[in-house]
């Protein structure tokens, strides 16, 4: 592991890269302890604060964890799916909000991915997954539910569908897509009638999952996608109209 002190790149970034590469290459294995900060500083011929900045970079990516005390130090972290979820969701959310990704594009991606799970979920879902879906459907029918709570329940429902596929990699990939859309979905005000329609489609999906009918799940997801986009469009239209009225009033 070496760095170039003459490079224009930050030393801490170079050190972080060197250690990261060693982890990816398998030279440092899970739970292995890195040398102490002082030893690393000595090795790379830099000061301790510089080493610490490098370690914090790695910690931000969940590649290492640190422990204080006598037998403490920095350890290579076993990257867990649960840890990766959070980062994936954060990144996806920011990508959507910063890159003016249209609702349609995000929606299309989400349902395309979800439909990819449909046949697997039909084959493998357990009673647990089904119970979660039914419970969320029931919650979604409760009057007095806020839009945010309705959306959160929607996310849980869809994650149960995805988790039913029994493939951790798929669940991980989809967590980003589904949850990242939540802020966009929260912009939609769900009327009693639209909630009723969504709950009906959710019920169809749950029934199809119970019957292990992949084609039916797929078809219903297509319907749900179309309806979601329709709702979003009406929101956009209403907002534009409101803005126009306001404009008219000021003029």
């Amino acid at each position: 592991m070496k760095i170039d002190p003459d490079s224009t790149v930050d030393l801490s970034a170079q050190i972080a890269k060197a250690i990261r590469d060693a982890i990816i290459a398998g030279d440092l294995i899970v739970d292995q302890r890195l040398p102490s900060e002082a030893e690393l500083a000595d090795h790379f011929d830099v000061s301790r604060p510089t080493v610490r900045e490098a370690l914090k970079r790695l910690a931000a990516q969940s590649l290492i964890r640190t422990q204080r005390g006598a037998t403490g130090g920095a350890f290579v972290n076993r990257l867990r799916f649960e840890d990766a979820y959070a980062q994936q969701v954060t990144t996806s959310t920011l990508l959507l909000s910063m890159n003016a990704v249209s609702f349609d594009v995000a929606c299309e991606a989400r349902y395309a991915l979800e439909r990819a799970c449909a046949p697997l979920s039909a084959a493998r879902r357990t009673p647990d997954h089904l119970a979660t879906m039914r419970a969320e459907i029931h919650r979604q029918g409760q009057p007095g539910l806020t839009d945010e709570a309705f959306c959160a329940s929607d996310v849980t429902f869809h994650r149960a569908l995805v988790d039913g596929a029994g493939n951790k990699v798929l669940s991980y990939q989809l967590a980003g897509a589904v949850e990242a859309m939540q802020p966009l979905m929260n912009m939609i005000t769900f009327t009693a009638r639209s909630r009723e329609a969504i709950v009906a489609l959710h019920t169809d999906i749950a029934d199809a999952v119970e019957a292990r009918d992949a084609a039916k799940i797929d078809a219903t997801l297509v319907k749900l996608e179309a309806y979601t986009r329709e709702l979003a469009h009406s929101v956009v239209t209403a907002r534009a109209q409101k803005a126009a009225e306001k404009e008219h009033k000021t003029a």
Copy 2:
């Protein structure tokens, strides 16, 4: 933005979280300059090194960039899909290697996601995407190609297929799945005969994409998945046999 100095959590982690939350909430917008390190240190009532560790954490997630000089400082970064790709691939690769995700599970996820793109790609692919696919097929037929180069070309081919769907979110999500599998794929030694079979299937896919025949793409991807898994199994079997022989020799 406040932190709790009595918490057991690192101050730098708390500060990073506070700033990250502000970015996510939109309180800090793209290209906006953060206060200088000295000002942040003053605001949070900590020392400059502590602030710097926090900023390095954010930089590791591409949430900010720093610039030196008179008008320098830390700026909120516009998170680009390209920047996110790299992190996504690193994370996915480590998840697969550290969590003993079986080849079958990863393979299943990859092809499920890819098949989700098939109908969109059939509808939207441009001549460019098609040209890339044809070029990679040609490369894959060249004799003397290393296994690594063959795999790299395979990745490029599949990414062209995915990019053909014309949905950035899908491309982003899939980049992780496809590229993360490359290390696993590199373990497979491709015989002349297996390469021939793969190239034939790739050609079928390219033909179907050209004809905008979604069903045909889907069907061929199913075949390719089955063949890939078959190849992987034979590799595993061969390796187990070799290990058994070695065991026998030592005994």
